[in-house]
C-alpha cells in the first residue's frame, strides 16, 4: 500500500523488529549472575524484522505463516504486550487482544463476577461493563450457569464466556490469535456473525490463524510472514496460494525420496498372477515422482507390472478410498473405453487424472486387474499406494470431489 491511498489507517507499522534474547543463556538467578557474570555474548534472534504494514481502518486483516514465523509476536506488539526493538507501531483508538480467551478468569468467582473483572482488565469503564453484561450473558448462552463459579464450567463454556466478553468491549482494533475455533458449530456461526457486524461498524480486526479456508472467507487482506519477515501481502486468495506453494515445495524438499510410491513384496495375493502389479506411484504430467497431488492439477498413477504370459486386453480397475473410509470412485480402462492391447513382459502404464477433482485429504489406492472378459482375476493389490491431495488455494471444500460443473442463467 502506498501512502497515496486515502483509506484511513488503523494500525501503522514502520520497520518493526523484535529481538529476543535466547532463553538458553538467560541468567535467571542471582547466583548465576555472580558466578558467571553478565552474559557476555547474548545469543539474540529476531522474531520479527523489518515489517512495514498499514492496516486500513474497518478491514479484517489476516496474518499467516509457519509456527514461529513471528505472527503472534507481531500481534503482541500491536497489542502493546511487547515493545518493538526497532521501528514504530501507531494504532488509532482502543486496541483489545483476544489472545487467550478467559486468561483473566478466576476459577473461584462466578461467571458474572468474572465478566466484570475481565472487562476491567481489558480496559472497559465500569459503566460500559454494566451496560453490556446482560448482552454478554445472552451471547454466551450460559443461562443460569452465569452465577456458578467458572471452575465448574466445561472448557467450551469457559471459552464461550471469554469470547463474549472480548467481542463486546467494542474495541477499535481487535486482535485475535487462533481462537476462532471456539465452541460448537452454532456458537462459531454466532462468533463470525458478530465479527462481521464489528467490521461493518468500522472496527478493525487483525487475526492470526492456521485455518486458511476460514481466513480466506473472513479477511479483506492477508499478510504472510516467514522467519519474522514479510513475504507477501494483498488479496487473500493470492497470498494464501503463494504461501501454500511454498509449504508444498518445502514438504517435497523435506522428503526427497518420494513417499507416494510403493513396490510390492513377494506376498501372496488373490488372482492367478499371470499379470502381477509390481510398482505403483503418483507422478506429474512429465512423469516426475510427486509426494502429493494438488486439487485441480492433472497428475498420473504410474503402474508397473510383469506378465508370465502375454495377456490380451487386461481390464485394470483403480479404486480410490478416502482416509475416512468411503470409496470415492473406481476408474477402469474398459469402462472408459481404453484398450491396452496385448501386454507382455515388464511394462509400465500411466493413468492421468485430468484436472484432479479430488479435494484435499489422504487417499488409498487399490488395484485390481481382470482379463478382457472381466471374469478372471489376474491380480488384486489392496493398499498399493497412499497419497495426499493438497489444496493450492486454501479452500478445503466439502465432500471428496469437486465436479466440473458450470453455472448459467437460462
Amino acid at each position: 500500500m502506498s501512502e497515496s491511498t486515502n483509506v484511513p489507517v488503523a494500525v501503522d507499522m514502520q520497520g518493526v523488529g523484535k529481538r529476543f534474547k535466547r532463553n538458553v543463556d538467560r541468567r535467571n538467578s542471582i547466583k548465576e549472575r555472580i558466578v558467571r557474570g553478565r552474559s557476555r555474548k547474548p545469543e539474540d534472534f529476531w522474531a520479527v524484522r523489518g515489517v512495514s504494514l498499514q492496516i486500513p481502518k474497518g478491514s479484517v486483516y489476516g496474518l499467516i505463516g509457519h509456527n514461529g514465523s513471528g505472527k503472534s509476536t507481531l500481534l503482541k506488539m500491536i497489542g502493546g504486550i511487547y515493545r518493538p526493538t526497532e521501528g514504530s507501531i501507531t494504532s488509532q483508538g482502543r486496541v483489545a487482544s483476544l489472545i487467550e480467551l478467559g486468561a483473566g478468569f478466576h476459577p473461584d468467582m462466578t461467571g458474572r463476577e468474572n465478566i466484570s473483572l475481565n472487562g476491567s482488565i481489558l480496559g472497559m469503564p465500569k459503566k460500559e461493563i454494566q451496560a453490556v453484561t446482560d448482552e454478554i450473558i445472552d451471547f454466551s448462552g450460559l443461562g443460569d450457569f452465569i452465577n456458578d463459579p467458572v471452575k465448574h464450567y466445561s472448557s467450551g463454556m469457559y471459552v464461550r464466556l471469554g469470547f463474549s466478553v472480548a467481542v463486546h468491549m467494542k474495541p477499535d482494533v481487535l486482535l485475535i490469535d487462533e481462537v476462532l475455533a471456539v465452541g460448537d458449530e452454532e456458537f462459531q456461526r454466532k462468533c463470525f456473525d458478530h465479527l462481521y457486524a464489528l467490521r461493518r461498524s468500522g472496527r478493525t480486526i487483525i487475526v492470526v490463524s492456521h485455518g486458511l479456508g476460514q481466513l480466506e472467507g473472513l479477511c479483506d487482506e492477508i499478510a504472510w510472514l516467514e522467519h519474522g519477515e514479510m513475504q507477501e501481502f494483498g488479496a487473500p486468495t493470492t497470498t494464501i496460494a503463494s504461501y501454500l506453494r511454498k509449504v508444498n515445495s518445502q514438504e517435497a524438499a523435506r522428503y526427497p525420496e518420494v513417499t507416494a510410491v510403493r513396490a510390492e513384496g513377494e506376498d501372496a495375493r488373490p488372482g492367478d498372477q499371470t499379470l502381477r502389479v509390481r510398482t505403483a506411484a503418483i507422478v506429474d504430467v512429465d512423469g516426475n515422482p510427486m509426494n502429493h497431488a494438488e486439487t485441480g492439477s492433472t497428475f498420473q498413477f504410474r503402474i508397473g507390472f510383469t506378465t508370465s504370459e502375454p495377456v490380451l486386453g487386461p481390464n485394470v480397475r483403480i479404486a480410490l478410498q478416502h482416509e475416512s473410509g468411503p470409496l470415492v470412485t473406481m476408474i477402469g480402462n474398459h469402462r472408459l473405453g481404453f484398450d491396452l492391447g496385448t501386454v507382455s513382459g515388464d511394462n509400465v502404464f500411466d493413468v492421468a487424472l485430468v484436472d484432479n477433482p479430488l479435494l484435499p485429504g489422504r487417499y488409498r489406492v487399490h488395484i485390481d486387474v481382470f482379463d478382457y472378459t472381466g471374469s478372471r482375476l489376474l491380480d488384486s493389490w489392496n493398499d498399493a499406494v497412499e497419497f495426499a491431495v493438497r489444496s493450492q488455494s486454501g479452500e478445503i471444500g466439502q465432500g471428496f470431489v469437486q465436479l466440473p460443473a458450470q453455472f448459467r442463467l437460462s
Binding site: F20, N28, I81, S97, G104, D108, E113, L117
Partner: protein, 265 residues
C-alpha cells in the same frame, strides 16, 4: 505517574474485588482467620516473652501499670502492616503472570489491588487493638496521630514491595533472601521489646536498631497508642513524607523496569 493511579482506580478496584472475594472463599471460618492468626501469635508471644524472657513493658499512658500484651500487639499490628504488604506485593507479578503475558495493562494494578485487601485485614487488627485499649481504659487524643504514621508505614512498605516484586519476577531468589532479611529485621525492630532495652547494649546493635526505619514507625505507634505521648511534629512529618517518597520512588522504578514485563515472566 501518580495521576495514572487515579485513572486506573477502576482496574485496581477490580483486582481488589477479586482478591477480596476469593481470599477466604474455600474456608469455613472465612475472614475470621485474619484475626485468629494474629491473636494466636499474640497469645503465644505474650506468654513466652513476658513469662519466660521476663520482658517488662513500659507503663501505660493512663498511669495504671503496664500491659505487655497490649504493648506487643501495638508493635505486631504495625509490623504486620509492613511485612504483609511486602510479602504480598512480591508474589503478585508471578501469580498474575499468565494475564500480564496476554493482556496489556499496568502491572502495578494487581499489586495495589492485593494491597488494598491486605489493608482491610490491618483495619480489622487495628479494631481489635482499639478495643483492647478501650478495655484497659488507655485512651488519648494522640491516637489521631496513628493515622499519618500508619499511612506512612503502608506507603513505605508498598514502595519497597513494588521494587522487590519486579526484581523477584526476574530473579526468583529474591523471595528467599527477603524472607531471611525480614525475620532478622523483625528482631531488630522494637516489636517484642521496648526500644529502651537496647540502650547501653552492644553499640553496633543499638545503632542498627535505631537506624532501622521500621523502628521509627513501630516506636511512634507505641508512643501514640500505648504511652499516649505525641512525638514531635518533625518526626511525624518525616515518617509520612519518608513513606510517600519511598512509594513514589518505588513506583517510578517499577514503571521503568516493568516495561518488558510481558517477556520477563
Amino acid at each position: 505517574m501518580l495521576t495514572d493511579l487515579y485513572r486506573q482506580r477502576a482496574l485496581i478496584g477490580a483486582f481488589a474485588n477479586r482478591d477480596f472475594a476469593t481470599r477466604y472463599r474455600s474456608s469455613i471460618l472465612g475472614w475470621a482467620w485474619s484475626l485468629i492468626q494474629p491473636l494466636a501469635i499474640l497469645v503465644v508471644f505474650a506468654a513466652v516473652f513476658s513469662l519466660v524472657f521476663r520482658i517488662k513493658a513500659p507503663d501505660l499512658g493512663n498511669g495504671e501499670g503496664a500491659s505487655y500484651a497490649a504493648f506487643l500487639f501495638t508493635g505486631l499490628v504495625t509490623w504486620n502492616l509492613f511485612s504483609g504488604l511486602l510479602n504480598l506485593s512480591m508474589t503478585q507479578l508471578k501469580s498474575n503472570g499468565e494475564l500480564l503475558k496476554k493482556v496489556q495493562f499496568p502491572a502495578w494494578a494487581p499489586i495495589l489491588g492485593a494491597s488494598i485487601v491486605q489493608l482491610i485485614q490491618v483495619l480489622l487488627e487495628l479494631t481489635v487493638l482499639v478495643l483492647m485499649f478501650l478495655w484497659l481504659r488507655n485512651v488519648g487524643w494522640t491516637w489521631i496521630i496513628a493515622i499519618p504514621i500508619l499511612i506512612g508505614t503502608a506507603l513505605f512498605a508498598q514502595g519497597i514491595g513494588l521494587v522487590l516484586s519486579i526484581i523477584n519476577a526476574r530473579f526468583g531468589d529474591v523471595m528467599y533472601i527477603v524472607a531471611v532479611v525480614l525475620s532478622a529485621l523483625y528482631f531488630l525492630t522494637p516489636v517484642l521489646y521496648p526500644i529502651s532495652m537496647v540502650d547501653g547494649q552492644n553499640e553496633l546493635l543499638s545503632l542498627v536498631v535505631k537506624l532501622n526505619p521500621m523502628s521509627w514507625y513501630v516506636q511512634s505507634m507505641h508512643d501514640v497508642m500505648y504511652s499516649l505521648i505525641a512525638p514531635s511534629a518533625a518526626v511525624v512529618v518525616a515518617l509520612l513524607v519518608g513513606g510517600f517518597l519511598t512509594f513514589w520512588a518505588g513506583l517510578a522504578i517499577f514503571s521503568r523496569w516493568s516495561e518488558d514485563i510481558g517477556e520477563l515472566l
